[in-house]
C-alpha cells in the first residue's frame, strides 16, 4: 500500500511541477489568429491603427530635465516623467487640438491646432503657452483644461516640478497667466491635477497632487534624502491641494478644511461620481503605496480606500482612469503598476464595483481574471471603445527607461527597493545607473474587450507597435468621423499619433455637452465645461455610462466629448444626461453616427 502510495505521490509531484507549463498553455489566446503575423485587423478586430504623427505635422520629441548633480548617478530614473498630452478645443472651432509638454529646461511646450484637414499647426508660441519651462520656474509635467470662469473657453492649468501656473484663455486668441491672484503654491512637485466641481456650485475647482515633497527643489537639493522612505509604504511625498473656485479668478486652498490630507506619492488622480451621490469622488493612484479613495460627502472628503477594498496591497500606482467596462452603468477603475517577469509582479489593478455597504462601494480587483493585469512598467492607460463594438477597450503604455539594450538596472533596483527607510530614502545610497535600462523597450498593451468580461491583447496586430517609454495617452476623434484616435506622449521620445480606422458597419454616437453656467457668477447650473456630467446610453438591451472628465490617466486629459460605440447596426433607445447641477435630461432615439451638441436646460 505504502509503496503504491509513494509511486502515486511521485507521479503527482511531477504533475505539480508541470502545472506552470499547463497553465501557460491554457492561458494562450483562444484565437490562433491572435498569434499570427498576418492579420487583417480591420476585418478581425473591427479597427486598425496607423502611426501618422509626422504626416499630421506633429513633430515633437520630448526632452527630460537635468536635475541637481547630486542625482547624476540615478538621473534617468528620477528625471523620468514630464511627457504629457491633453486634448482641448482651444478656439471652439469644433476640432480637438493637442497640448504637449516638454521638460527640458528652456524647452517649449506645443499647442497643436487642428486644421481640420488631417494636419496640425503649432500655435503655442503665438498664444503664449510655449515658453513655460524656464529653469527658475521648473519644468512641465502635465496640463489639464477647464473653463474656470464659464466664459466658454477652456483655460489651462499647467503643473510642473516647480511653480504651477494657471493661464486664462482669452477667447482662443491668447493666454494670460493669472497665477498671481489664485493663491497657488510657489513651488510644488506635481504630477497630477484634475478639474472638478467638488461642491457643485457651478464653478470648477482644482485638485493638485504632489509627488516629491514641495520642500524639495530638484535642481538645488539641500541633501539627497528626498527619495521615498519605503518602496511600498512611503508617506513622505508631496502634499495635496484642493483649490475652491471663489469666482473672479480667485481660489482658496481648502484641502485641510475638507479632509483631503495625504502625504503619499501621488502620480495620478481621477474624479468621478463613484457612489451615485451626484458629487464627484476622488481616486488617487499613489506610487510607493496604496491607492486612496476619497468619498465626497456633500463637499467634505473622507478616505475610504480600505473600506472600499482598494486600500490594501501597496503597489506603484501610476494611472487612474474610470470606465464602465461591463456595461453595468457603474465605473471600474484602472490603476497601472509594475510587472517584470521573475522579479516584481505587482500586476495592474482593475477595480470593478461589486456592491456597496452603508453607502461605501466595494471593489474587487478583476484585472487577472479579465486579462488586463500584466502590462510591464505601466504608466498611462485609458478606456475607449476603439472598434465601436459597444464595449470599452483599454490602451496601456509601458516602459520606464530605455537605454542600453544589453544591460539592465533591475538587480540593483530590487536590491535598494528591499532596503530599510534609512537606505532607500537617501539618493546617495542608490547604485549608479549608468547607461543601463530599467524595464526599457517594452511593448504596449491594447486590450480589446470581448464584451463578456475578458480582454484580448492585440496591440501588435492592429498597429500599436512602438517601443518608446510611454507616459501619457489621450483619446480624441480628431477628424470628427466617429473613430477615436490615440495620442501617446513618450519620455525622451517622439509624440505618436495612432490614427484609427474602424469597420464601416459599426455605429457610434457622441455627445458634446455644455453646462448652463454662462458666467462666472451663475448659480444653479453646471460648469460650462460640463465636467462631472454623466451620460448613459441604452441600446439593444444594454447600457453604458460615461462622465465628462477634468483629467484622467497619467498626466493626460481626453477630449471632453463623450464617444459611445454601438456595434453593428446598434441604435440607442434612450440617452440620459445627468448634470452636476442635479438636472436630468433625456434624449429619445437620437440619431446615430453623429455628434450631438447638448446644452443644459435652464
Amino acid at each position: 500500500m505504502t509503496r503504491y502510495a509513494r509511486v502515486a505521490l511521485a507521479v503527482i509531484f511531477v504533475g505539480l511541477l508541470m502545472t506552470p507549463f499547463l497553465v501557460r498553455r491554457l492561458s494562450q489566446p483562444a484565437s490562433p489568429i491572435a498569434t499570427s503575423g498576418h492579420v487583417d485587423a480591420l476585418k478581425q478586430y473591427g479597427f486598425r491603427l496607423t502611426e501618422s504623427a509626422k504626416a499630421a505635422g506633429l513633430e515633437f520629441v520630448h526632452g527630460a530635465p537635468t536635475l541637481d548633480p547630486k542625482l547624476a548617478h540615478i538621473m534617468p530614473q528620477v528625471a523620468s516623467m514630464g511627457a504629457a498630452v491633453s486634448v482641448v478645443d482651444v478656439d471652439r472651432d469644433g476640432l480637438p487640438d493637442l497640448y504637449v509638454t516638454d521638460s527640458k529646461e528652456g524647452s517649449r511646450n506645443r499647442l497643436f491646432r487642428n486644421r481640420g484637414n488631417g494636419t496640425f499647426e503649432d500655435v503655442a508660441e503665438r498664444l503664449g503657452v510655449a515658453d513655460l519651462n524656464r529653469a527658475e520656474d521648473g519644468v512641465s509635467m502635465g496640463a489639464v483644461w477647464g473653463d474656470y470662469d464659464n466664459d466658454g473657453f477652456e483655460d489651462l492649468f499647467l503643473y510642473r516640478w516647480g511653480r504651477p501656473v494657471l493661464l486664462h484663455n482669452d477667447r482662443g486668441q491668447r493666454f494670460t497667466p493669472v497665477t498671481d491672484v489664485t493663491g497657488l503654491p510657489a513651488w510644488a512637485n506635481v504630477n497630477t491635477a484634475v478639474w472638478l466641481d467638488f461642491d457643485r456650485d457651478g464653478r470648477l475647482d482644482l485638485f493638485v497632487g504632489g509627488y516629491y515633497s514641495e520642500a524639495v527643489n530638484l535642481w538645488k537639493l539641500a541633501d539627497t534624502r528626498m527619495m521615498p522612505e519605503s518602496f511600498e509604504y512611503a508617506n513622505n511625498g508631496g502634499r495635496k491641494y484642493l483649490f475652491r473656485n471663489l469666482g473672479g479668478g480667485r481660489f482658496e486652498e481648502v484641502s485641510a478644511q475638507v479632509g483631503l490630507a495625504s502625504r503619499r506619492w501621488a502620480l495620478a488622480a481621477v474624479a468621478a461620481d463613484l457612489r451615485g451621490t451626484g458629487y464627484p469622488d476622488l481616486f488617487i493612484a499613489n506610487d510607493y503605496g496604496v491607492s486612496e479613495m476619497f468619498a465626497n460627502d456633500r463637499g467634505r472628503f473622507r478616505e475610504i480606500g480600505r473600506e472600499a477594498g482598494v486600500g490594501y496591497s501597496p503597489k506603484s500606482g501610476m494611472n487612474a482612469a474610470v470606465g464602465d467596462v461591463l456595461n453595468q452603468g457603474r465605473f471600474a477603475i484602472y490603476v497601472s503598476n509594475i510587472s517584470e517577469e521573475g522579479i516584481l509582479l505587482q500586476g495592474n489593478n482593475l477595480w470593478v464595483p461589486s456592491g456597496a455597504v452603508g453607502g461605501i462601494p466595494r471593489y474587487e480587483n478583476l484585472a487577472r481574471s479579465m486579462g488586463v493585469d500584466l502590462g510591464g512598467w505601466s504608466f498611462g492607460a485609458q478606456f475607449a471603445d476603439l472598434n465601436n463594438d459597444g464595449f470599452l477597450d483599454l490602451y496601456v503604455v509601458n516602459g520606464f527607461v530605455s537605454a542600453s539594450q544589453q544591460n539592465s538596472y533591475w538587480y540593483d533596483y530590487s536590491r535598494i527597493a528591499g532596503g530599510n527607510q534609512i537606505v532607500i530614502s537617501d539618493a546617495k545610497n542608490w547604485p549608479a545607473m549608468g547607461t543601463r535600462s530599467l524595464a526599457g523597450y517594452q511593448q504596449k498593451k491594447l486590450w480589446l474587450s470581448d464584451g463578456a468580461g475578458r480582454f484580448l491583447e492585440v496591440s501588435q496586430l492592429v498597429g500599436a507597435t512602438d517601443r518608446y517609454d510611454g507616459r501619457s495617452i489621450a483619446l480624441a476623434d480628431l477628424s470628427n468621423h466617429g473613430m477615436l484616435d490615440v495620442i501617446v506622449a513618450n519620455q525622451r521620445g517622439p509624440l505618436l499619433l495612432y490614427r484609427n480606422q474602424v469597420a464601416a458597419d459599426r455605429n457610434w454616437i457622441a455627445f458634446e455637452l455644455e453646462g448652463g453656467c454662462k458666467s462666472d457668477g451663475a448659480t444653479g447650473c453646471t460648469n460650462r465645461s460640463a465636467i462631472g456630467a454623466q451620460v448613459t446610453v441604452r441600446w439593444n438591451g444594454q447600457q453604458q455610462v460615461q462622465e465628462v472628465s477634468g483629467g484622467s490617466g497619467f498626466c493626460s486629459q481626453n477630449q471632453r466629448r463623450l464617444h459611445f460605440g454601438l456595434g453593428a447596426g446598434g441604435t440607442p433607445d434612450k440617452v440620459t444626461v445627468r448634470w452636476p447641477s442635479g438636472k436630468v435630461q433625456e434624449l429619445t432615439r437620437p440619431e446615430v453616427n453623429r455628434v450631438h451638441k447638448v446644452e443644459e436646460p435652464a
Binding site: 505521490l9 506552470p20 501597496p314 527607510q421 537606505v423
Partner: protein, 279 residues
C-alpha cells in the same frame, strides 16, 4: 520552510519553568505574529484570500500525504508555517501559484528523500521551483515592510529569542556575519556603496530566510560547527549569485548548498554505521 524547530528533539539544556512551552508552537507563533503585524499595520499581503489559500493547501496536502503514506494524522505546525511562508514570500496577481507552491513544498518533503530524510527545505524548494518554472506568473517578496525600523527590530529580537530557545541561534548569527563579510567584499569588487550591498538583509525576505529557512532542523546538519560552516558556504554562494545579479540569490544558494550538505551528512552517518558494524 517548515521551520520544524517546532518538531525538533527536546533540548538537553534545562530551562526556566516559564520557558517550558511546547516548542512545536514557537515557529507558528512567531510567523503568525509576523503575518498579523505586517498585514494589520501595513496591509503587506497580496491578499488575505491568497495567503489563506496557501495555508489551506499546505495543511490539506500534509494531511492527505501523511495519511496515505503512514496511515497517521500529522502534527500540522510545520505545514502551517510552510503555508504562511508561501503566502508571504510568493507574489503573484494570480491565485493558483499560491496553491501550487504550497502543494509542491509539502509534497517535496515526502518525494525527495534519502534514507527517510528530506533534503530540501520545503518552502525553499517550492519557491525556487515557482521562480524557475513560472517566472511569468510569480515573483518573490523583495520589498520592505513598513518604513521604519520597529517592525524589523521586533522580528529580529523575537526570532532570535525563539532560535536561542531551540539552540539554533548560531546558524542565524553565522549567516548574518557571513552576509556582512561578503557584502563588504562585493562592495569592494563592484564599487557600489557598502550600504546598498547591506540593504537587502534589512528587508523582510531575509527575515523569513534567516529565521525560518536556514534554521529548519529537518534540513540542516546536526553538528553546530557544521551548521555554521554550511551557512557560511550558503552566504558565499549567495554572494556569487549576487555578483551575477540574481535577485533571489539567497533562495538559490540554499537550494544548491542545503541538499549537498545533507547528503554529505547522510553519507558520513552511513559510513560510521558501517564502521561500527564491522568493528
Amino acid at each position: 520552510m517548515t521551520t520544524e524547530q517546532a518538531i525538533a528533539q527536546p533540548s538537553k539544556t534545562p530551562r526556566a519553568p516559564w520557558l517550558k512551552v511546547d516548542r512545536r508552537y514557537l515557529a507558528p507563533a512567531l510567523i503568525t505574529c509576523v503575518l498579523l503585524a505586517g498585514q494589520l499595520t501595513f496591509g503587506f499581503l497580496e491578499s488575505w484570500s491568497r495567503t489563506f489559500l496557501a495555508i489551506a493547501t499546505a495543511i490539506l496536502t500534509e494531511l492527505v500525504v501523511v495519511r496515505a503514506l503512514y496511515g497517521a494524522w500529522p502534527h500540522l505546525a510545520s505545514a502551517y508555517v510552510s503555508g504562511i511562508s508561501v503566502g508571504i514570500l510568493v507574489r503573484s496577481p494570480a491565485f493558483w501559484p499560491y496553491a501550487l507552491c504550497s502543494a509542491i513544498s509539502i509534497t517535496s518533503k515526502y518525494v525527495l528523500r534519502v534514507r527517510e530524510r528530506h533534503l530540501w527545505n520545503p518552502t525553499n524548494f517550492g519557491v525556487v521551483m515557482m521562480l524557475l518554472l513560472a517566472p511569468d506568473a510569480v515573483a518573490g517578496l523583495s520589498v520592505q515592510w513598513g518604513n521604519n525600523l520597529l517592525p524589523m527590530v521586533f522580528v529580529w529580537v523575537f526570532g532570535s529569542v525563539i532560535l536561542w530557545m531551540v539552540d539554533r541561534l548560531n546558524i542565524t548569527v553565522t549567516y548574518v556575519l557571513s552576509f556582512l563579510f561578503f557584502a563588504v567584499l562585493r562592495a569592494w569588487i563592484t564599487g557600489h556603496t557598502m550600504i546598498s550591498e547591506i540593504a537587502p538583509i534589512t528587508g523582510p525576505m531575509y527575515q523569513l530566510f534567516i529565521f525560518f529557512m536556514v534554521t529548519d532542523p529537518k534540513t540542516t546538519v546536526r553538528r553546530k560547527w557544521a551548521q555554521s560552516l554550511v551557512v557560511f558556504i550558503i552566504a558565499a554562494v549567495e554572494a556569487v549569485f549576487r555578483l551575477m545579479q540574481f535577485v533571489y540569490a539567497p533562495f538559490y544558494a540554499l537550494f544548491l548548498v542545503g541538499p549537498i550538505a545533507n547528503l554529505i551528512e547522510i553519507w558520513q552517518d552511513e559510513r560510521r554505521g558501517r564502521q561500527g558494524v564491522s568493528r
